[in-house]
């Protein structure tokens, strides 16, 4: 039996144990950093806020930063608002302390039953082996995986989601499962669960319709200002759709997106940086529906339709997300216009329909 493992129903004890484990894990990061003679620091401006990532070594950095590269800023001495320390055990030769929970404590969304509270947030995904922990009061977080070589392609495309959500939600910014395209004067969110056509609509607008890109799967909304911020410059589609509709992307598919059974992943910042627009006002929220017919049309959607298409697919995949996330999403829903986008097979026709939607009345 692990002597540090608290007894069931010992909420206060678990809180102290998690705080203790956080400190132990942070010490391991420092060991890992020393093994490389000092960490690698990268800074990014996310939703207008300064984020610092400290990598103990290069192995993880090369897998996690390409999706954020369009938000990179130089180190200028400014104090970051949130700092994440990242390392893996294999490349740094360090050993993670045993978890203070047991295998039966793992729950859906990466949650660990009985561990985590308003201050210390925790998620461990057994499928990826990625541990995310944050001390939200101190504004620091830890990110660990046993072997950087096992970072899944979807994590490379959309890294650090739980940590970004825990940090930014408290600042009135919400990570959402949505695509976003537009112009500096205004743009569109595409919402809906996986396979609903978000990526196809977003990439059609950018590569065939003259729109700029803020994201094809996740982005950050600021409901108070009705704005969207780009989170990741990655795009992913299945091979068939990519080859048929966006052949110019094929040569740009990243190494991690070329593995068998995985969707091809493209980092637009590496090849089409001029297509990226990191922030713009939200003028409409659209729910794509694949029709199988050529034309693309719009029909009005009710607020409840928007809420159903956006809130569950966001909240059910973010660890420890709940009422706070739903409140920010609801604020966006109440302040925006919603439509169903009856998505046609003629991809060249999508951009003009949406351009007309954005024209000033």
């Amino acid at each position: 039996m692990n002597p540090r493992r608290p007894q069931d129903n010992d909420g206060g004890g678990r809180k102290a144990v998690l705080a203790d484990f956080f400190e132990q894990a942070r010490d391991v990061y420092l060991q890992a950093e020393r093994a490389f003679g000092g960490g690698l620091c990268r800074r990014f401006r996310v939703g207008g806020r300064l984020l610092a990532l400290y990598f103990a070594g290069p192995a993880l950095a090369s897998r996690l930063t390409p999706a954020l590269e369009h938000l990179a800023v130089p180190a200028d001495g400014a104090m970051p608002e949130f700092t994440i320390f990242l390392w893996d055990s294999v490349s740094t030769g360090t050993r993670m302390p045993p978890p203070p929970w047991s295998a039966r404590d793992y729950a859906g969304r990466g949650e660990v039953r009985g561990f985590g509270d308003d201050r210390f947030r925790l998620a461990f995904h057994p499928g990826s082996g990625i541990l995310n922990m944050a001390d939200t009061r101190a504004g620091i977080a830890l990110y660990w995986i046993r072997d950087a070589g096992q970072v899944p392609y979807y994590e490379s495309g959309a890294p650090l989601l739980p940590l970004l959500n825990w940090w930014l939600n408290g600042l009135g910014l919400q990570v959402v499962h949505a695509a976003a395209v537009g112009h500096p004067s205004g743009g569109i969110l595409f919402i809906g669960k996986g396979g609903s056509g978000k990526s196809t609509a977003a990439l059609s607008c950018c590569f065939r319709g003259g729109f700029l890109y803020a994201g094809d799967d996740y982005c950050l909304i600021e409901p108070g200002a009705l704005r969207v911020h780009s989170l990741f410059n990655s795009a992913k589609l299945d091979w068939e759709r990519l080859r048929m509709s966006f052949p110019q992307l094929e040569a740009a598919v990243s190494d991690s997106g070329r593995l068998d059974g995985e969707k091809p992943l493209v980092f637009l910042q590496q090849h089409w940086p001029q297509l990226i627009n990191p922030v713009f006002p939200i003028r409409a929220v659209l729910i794509p529906r694949l029709t199988g017919r050529p034309p693309t049309t719009l029909t009005p959607a009710k607020p409840i339709d928007i809420a159903k298409a956006l809130a569950p697919s966001t909240i059910f995949q973010l660890a420890a997300a709940g009422g706070d996330e739903l409140r920010l999403i609801a604020e966006l829903v109440r302040g925006s216009s919603g439509f169903f986008l009856e998505l046609g097979t003629d991809l060249d026709a999508i951009g003009p329909v949406l351009s007309r939607l954005l024209e000033p009345e």
Binding site: R95, M96, K308, A311, F316, G322
Partner: protein, 151 residues
């Protein structure tokens, strides 16, 4: 006079922090984060939801709706009871532990829809799979799960 049924004096509350909800115009979205289910509540359901959370019992809610048609009070009460039972089955609400002490909010503003329309609880289960736990094949000597070996 409304004929009383078992449970008519019970007041209700949201069944814990794993239940989330928001109202939009005359509809409500609710989610059960433990089960991976979400719901839309329509018809008079959104108003019943609001009244339930304000602490009203079934007869008090029936009174609220039947102001326009007192002759229909039994039918309305029956519809509300059925709806409340569904909310209980789905784990969205629970009896308030201090139901005898909690008084309903006074002078609740009348909603726009006070004419009773059958409440609808539409249930969606398509997010259940997001809550499924990746299988843990084995843990290493320090207690961390090993990832599945690639073939």
């Amino acid at each position: 006079m409304l004929s009383m049924k078992k449970g008519d004096y019970v007041r209700y509350r949201i069944a814990g922090s794993k239940i989330i909800h928001e109202a939009f115009e005359d509809e409500v979205i609710a989610g059960n984060l433990e089960r991976g289910h979400y719901y839309s509540i329509e018809g008079s359901g959104a108003e019943i939801w609001r009244l339930l959370l304000a602490g009203l019992t079934v007869p008090e809610m029936a009174e609220h709706f039947s102001n326009h048609d007192p002759s229909n009070r039994e039918t309305i009460a029956s519809g509300i009871r059925e709806f409340v039972d569904r909310l209980l089955e789905e784990g969205l609400i629970a009896p308030s532990e201090n139901s005898e002490d909690e008084l309903p909010a006074k002078n609740l503003p009348l909603a726009r829809r006070t004419v009773f329309a059958p409440p609808v609880l539409q249930k969606y289960t398509d997010m259940e799979e997001l809550l499924l736990l990746d299988p843990i094949h084995e843990v290493d000597e320090t207690g961390w799960p090993n990832l599945k070996k690639q073939d």
